[in-house]
């Protein structure tokens, strides 16, 4: 529960990441950032195998270049994706796990959006904005918002299926099943 991520060794490992190759099952403990990157990498590799071709064309002319995948960008793409304001490359971001400046969000929009979806299950903010007036009621929240939560999970599940994020979809399916059991009378 309190171990460090085996990949970046910096952030806390909160995710148990299991990979299956043939009959071999390997479990590693990762932080959300590295886990998200790894599952993107796996998805890309699986695609590569299925189509029997490299998913990303190496932009470099070097022969026999090993195609390391960073996020869902190739190593060379990750190196050439640069933030115009702070000059951080996407490759550098993947190494340090921290963005360089607010503009990085625009410069790395595509791979970041996928990364955010993996981490949070969403890439859309629905909360406060700067300087927003506070409308907090002093009353406690309604006791049972289970139905609410179910609705939200179902929407997320539909979205996950649409995005072909099956790992996430399976998680959501389990959560929904669990909530339904809890909500059932006589459970």
């Amino acid at each position: 529960m309190l171990m460090k991520c085996e990949s970046c060794t910096k952030r806390e490992a909160t995710i148990e990441f299991t990979t299956v190759a043939g009959n071999e099952k390997t479990t590693s403990h990762l932080c959300p950032v590295c886990a998200a990157a790894f599952s993107q990498q796996q998805a890309t590799e699986a695609e590569d195998q299925a189509q029997d071709k490299s998913a990303v064309k190496p932009t470099s002319v070097k022969k026999k270049k090993v195609n390391v995948v960073v996020g869902h960008l190739s190593k060379s793409e990750a190196k050439s994706t640069v933030c115009p304001d702070c000059e951080m490359t996407y490759d550098e971001f993947r190494k340090v796990g921290r963005l360089g400046c607010p503009s990085c969000y625009r410069a790395f929009a595509k791979p970041l959006k996928r990364l955010l979806k993996r981490i949070h299950g969403s890439d859309h903010h629905v909360g406060r904005e700067p300087g927003m007036e506070t409308l907090v009621s002093a009353d406690p929240p309604p006791a049972d918002t289970g139905i609410d939560q179910l609705d939200q999970l179902r929407t997320e599940l539909a979205q996950a299926v649409e995005d072909e994020e099956y790992e996430r979809a399976a998680q959501l399916r389990d959560q929904i099943a669990q909530l339904q059991v809890e909500d059932a009378p006589d459970a």
Partner: protein
């Protein structure tokens, strides 16, 4: 306000109010914010760092919530003073140990604070006793309104507040509770509870945040996702989980009482006896004994006030003891002093009853 005055007074969040019979010690909400025109902290020059501090302090000066607040620059404090602030949950270990211009602004009762130039330019924090998550949220939202309304904040229509680490993007909100779950640990149900929490997207840590160990059966439970839900929903989710955890813990306590009442009573009273009479107490042993005493309080066996237990927990931390002693203490000296302090405080509290 001086730091010397700080060590003798417990922070307001340790008062033991609304703490579900000693189970929920405190609850905290923090918001990560950045200024739009500067690089994020890891890539900032010292000049930028100074400018950010000036801008934030200027914004905070007009805040109605921070009228009693004082600012401390990390570079103006020695290592032990910085540790005192960590032990009081006012700053993170990394703010204490990092280099560069950085600091902490906090109000007199320590319920509201702003770390400047940590991983994000701003980390606003509200911390309240017990299960007062709604009050905590109300306080931090009001401070957020004042501060982000006065500075140029890094924000995006679709992604919300932009933070250095993508795990904080969106609301930038981390809500957590500090909860004592000794019966769930004793009945070996904690592993199952941890798995369940993880599945519901909650993270569990030790008392001093990332990378710290759970000692004394104290756990910090917080939300994982910061993007895609409103702040209110995240806080409500934490409250819901909290009341579930309290129910589980109370059930586990009841089954302990049914199956092994005398052993549990013996454990509680032995712990009390050791705390009242021991001459040497390591930090680990102390936390375990204090956990048993807190369990005694929750089960109604002991009449020790929760605020007293909470305060002991902070007063016996290394930097607090060193500050009181006025110099550094090696581990053996600390264990002697800890035992002495606990004996003295326990005598005071039992005389007062």
């Amino acid at each position: 306000m001086s730091l010397e005055g700080l060590i003798t007074t417990p922070p307001s969040w340790m008062s033991g109010e609304d703490d579900a019979d000693g189970i929920v010690i405190s609850c905290r909400v923090r918001l990560a914010r950045n200024l739009a025109r500067y690089p994020f902290s890891p890539r900032m020059s010292e000049d930028d760092q100074r400018k950010v501090i000036d801008e934030v302090l200027a914004a905070a000066k007009d805040s109605r919530r921070m009228t009693t607040a004082s600012y401390f620059s990390m570079n103006a404090l020695d290592a032990n003073e910085r540790r005192v602030l960590v032990e009081r949950h006012l700053i993170s270990p990394s703010l204490a140990e990092d280099k560069g211009e950085r600091g902490i602004l906090f109000n007199q009762d320590e319920s509201l604070s702003v770390m400047i130039n940590e991983e994000d330019h701003l980390r606003l924090q509200a911390i309240y006793p017990g299960t007062q998550a709604q009050q905590t949220w109300a306080a931090i939202a009001a401070l957020d309104e004042e501060i982000t309304g006065a500075v140029d904040c890094a924000h995006d229509k679709q992604l919300g507040f932009l933070t250095a680490c993508p795990t904080n993007t969106g609301t930038g909100l981390r809500a957590s509770i500090l909860i004592h779950l000794p019966a769930l640990v004793l009945t070996e149900d904690m592993e199952r509870v941890l798995q369940g929490l993880n599945q519901l997207s909650f993270t569990v840590r030790g008392v001093y945040g990332e990378g710290s160990n759970a000692s004394g059966n104290l756990f910090q439970v917080s939300n994982q996702a910061t993007l895609g839900s409103t702040e209110e929903k995240i806080v409500e989710g934490l409250l819901r989980i909290t009341s579930q955890l309290v129910d589980y813990e109370k059930d586990a306590q009841q089954s302990l009482l049914r199956e092994a009442r005398s052993q549990v009573e013996d454990k509680v009273w032995r712990a009390y006896g050791l705390l009242a009479h021991a001459r040497v107490l390591s930090s680990q042993e102390f936390m375990n004994l204090l956990s048993a005493v807190r369990l005694g309080l929750t089960m109604g066996m002991l009449k020790v006030p929760a605020a007293f237990i909470n305060h002991l927990m902070i007063a016996t931390q290394p930097a607090h003891m060193q500050a009181e002693a006025g110099g550094s203490l090696d581990p053996e000296e600390r264990d002697l002093r800890r035992a002495q302090l606990v004996r003295q405080k326990l005598t005071e509290v039992s005389d007062g009853q």
